[in-house]
């Protein structure tokens, strides 16, 4: 439901990732996290930088 | 204004004064007293306040909360605030160390009418953390002991470890000119003094109402029965004084939370006589 709703309000679907990693799959866990972080970095900030003074 | 505050010059009632916590006393498992000193020695020197006035302590990033200044104006080496762990700000306050810095906005609100208490007997009835506002006035009176006739203090808490200001209590017990009556709600190993709720102890002690001012602070349920008890001992309403509590934010009588009718607890209070309270509409 969330996967379809986020694009509706203008948030790119690639910013949301939902997967199943069991406790034993340490390697996959590391892969998923680094992969997703890189993916989000490429997309850049969603809003202008949320500094405090805004 | 202290050097680490770039201010617009005009005095700003919302701007706290930075102070350093010099000492933290563990009064009870959930109550700590904080002794603070303003960073600006100038400000500390000419800071004046009256017993019963309150201050707002700021933990920047968490928020602000109101506490009575419970060290007397006659002992100005530090300002002391007792804080019971309850909500966001108080819990955060309980995690800071000596030497940390907090913001203080003081003095705020009105104070005990100690002028027209002179020459009268004084009856203090306190419960748990309610002892904080009373302690200010007691110490002030002890520093001007001659002005007042006999002083009776009835102070109770759930269990002996819950009694605040243990060293003060010891001192007051030894003094001949103070009649201290301590009580705890029910039996406790090693406790040899009275047992019973404060309102019941008040009835047993049955102080005379003549020429006596009664000051009571404590949990609402206790105050309810204490007021009934005092009425039973036919204390006139104008001789019964209490301090009120409410949710407070601005502390200067604008933000609309703590008003009872057109009176604001943070500015026109927190000290009220029962006579005044009877005139005001419910909050």
């Amino acid at each position: 439901m969330l996967k379809n709703m986020l694009p509706f309000v203008g948030i790119d679907g690639k910013r949301f990732h939902y997967t199943w990693v069991s406790a034993s799959e340490g390697q996959k866990w590391q892969q998923v996290v680094t992969g997703f972080t890189k993916q989000v970095h490429d997309l850049g900030p969603l809003h202008e930088k949320k500094e405090i003074a805004d | 204004m202290t050097e680490n505050c770039t201010c617009n010059g005009d005095n700003n009632p919302y701007l706290p004064e930075i102070a350093t916590v010099t000492r933290i006393i563990e009064e009870t498992p959930n109550i700590k007293s904080f002794q603070v000193v303003f960073n600006d020695p100038e400000r500390m020197k000419n800071f004046t306040f009256e017993p019963g006035q309150v201050g707002q302590l700021s933990l920047f990033g968490v928020g602000e909360a109101t506490f009575v200044i419970n060290s007397p104006p006659t002992r100005m080496e530090y300002l002391q605030f007792s804080v019971m762990k309850a909500g966001e700000v108080t819990s955060a306050l309980h995690t800071i160390y000596e030497g940390d810095q907090i913001g203080v906005r003081a003095p705020l609100g009105n104070y005990f009418p100690y002028e027209d208490m002179k020459g009268k007997n004084i009856l203090f009835v306190g419960g748990g953390i309610g002892m904080a506002p009373l302690r200010t006035l007691i110490l002030y009176m002890l520093d001007n002991r001659a002005d007042y006739k006999d002083i009776t203090i009835i102070y109770g808490a759930r269990t002996p470890p819950d009694l605040c200001y243990k060293d003060d209590l010891k001192e007051w017990e030894e003094r001949s000119d103070v009649n201290l009556i301590l009580t705890v709600d029910n039996e406790f190993p090693g406790w040899d003094k009275r047992v019973g709720f404060v309102p019941t102890v008040l009835k047993e002690v049955a102080p005379k109402w003549f020429e006596t001012i009664a000051i009571t602070c404590g949990p609402p349920i206790m105050i309810k029965f204490v007021l009934e008890g005092l009425a039973g001992l036919n204390f006139p309403d104008e001789n019964i004084i209490t301090t009120l509590e409410a949710r407070m934010k601005c502390g200067i009588g604008i933000c609309g939370r703590c008003n009872m009718g057109h009176k604001y607890i943070c500015k026109d209070g927190p000290v009220f006589t029962l006579a005044q309270l009877n005139e005001l509409p419910e909050i």
Partner: protein
């Protein structure tokens, strides 16, 4: 005509309940306002016409005694949803249902008369005659009704103890309900993002949409205001406002009965219901579930079973 029938029914119901929640004329001819009728003497004030826009069922969860409530079709779905979620005790509520051919949107009527002060409004079967300083104007209800009426599937209440007049069928195609959602999805990502940021940027956070929503029963401990650390700050940036509306929408997943109150009450006229309609469209697609349709349904978010009966899950 039907107002008289409604008054008769209220008389019949009265001895059995303390209060009857219905409508009365509001502060001007265009507005009605809820009436908590406690004595049959107030019966004269009762009205029923296309101006009766409020969803009166939103008061039910906080009512402690037995009450009667007058409901239109869309309002009655709220009662069914309450029953599904156990928010009301069914035998503590007497439901007086009224078949409804559509109500008016006050905003659209005002727009039609260019926002001039209203002098008089008369409702004549399915038209509304609005009198302002520059004369009278006859508006067809179907030209000024809120969007929910344009695709209304439930003109007759889905549940009632008494029905005023006879039931009427919906003449609107079922798939038209989520047409505006599909049409909005044809826009590009940036367009949609700009749209929501502009519209929700006007929000003044008065929480009228949350407090008017019948399904929002946890207003006093709403996550938007009572969590430590704060979920959303008090600052007024578009992100904080958007975050609140997302919290509100997601908490209505599989619960929103599309009564349109959130959009009707917004003082800044923000299309607040758009996100909720999208979620409802998803609920329909994923779980084939329509909110407030049948009391024995279980809302999808209420139940968790490993393999959902109605989801076409790809077998791993």
């Amino acid at each position: 005509m039907s107002t008289e029938k409604l008054k008769e029914t209220i008389q019949k119901v009265f001895p059995d309940v303390e209060t009857v929640i219905c409508w009365q004329e509001g502060f001007d001819k265009l507005h009605t306002t809820p009436l908590f009728m406690t004595a049959s003497a107030q019966e004269a004030k009762v009205v029923w016409n296309p101006l009766c826009v409020q969803n009166l069922t939103s008061y039910l969860p906080s009512m402690k005694k037995k009450v009667a409530v007058v409901v239109k079709g869309c309002d009655s779905r709220t009662i069914v949803q309450f029953m599904e979620e156990g928010l009301i005790d069914r035998n503590n509520v007497v439901i007086i249902g009224i078949p409804c051919r559509g109500v008016v949107s006050v905003k659209k009527v005002l727009r039609a008369v260019d926002f001039q002060p209203i002098e008089d409004v008369k409702c004549v079967d399915d038209t509304v005659i609005v009198k302002t300083a520059s004369g009278e104007k006859t508006l067809k209800v179907s030209d000024v009704w809120p969007d929910k009426c344009a695709t209304c599937q439930y003109p007759t209440p889905v549940i009632y103890d008494y029905l005023i007049g006879d039931a009427i069928e919906s003449d609107k195609p079922a798939e038209s309900v989520y047409e505006d959602v599909r049409e909005f999805e044809t826009k590009t990502l940036e367009e949609r993002k700009a749209y929501f940021e502009r519209e929700f940027g006007k929000c003044i956070r008065c929480y009228a949409c949350r407090n008017a929503c019948p399904m929002c029963v946890c207003q006093d401990s709403c996550i938007a205001e009572t969590r430590d650390p704060h979920w959303i700050t008090q600052k007024l940036s578009a992100q904080e406002k958007m975050m609140f509306h997302m919290i509100h929408s997601i908490h209505l997943a599989g619960r929103c009965v599309e009564c349109g109150e959130c959009e009707r009450v917004c003082p800044m006229d923000i299309p607040v219901a758009k996100i909720k309609k999208k979620i409802n469209a998803e609920m329909k697609y994923l779980y084939d579930y329509t909110t407030g349709a049948n009391p024995d349904d279980k809302p999808p978010m209420y139940t968790f079973n490993v393999d959902e009966a109605k989801i076409k899950e790809h077998k791993l």
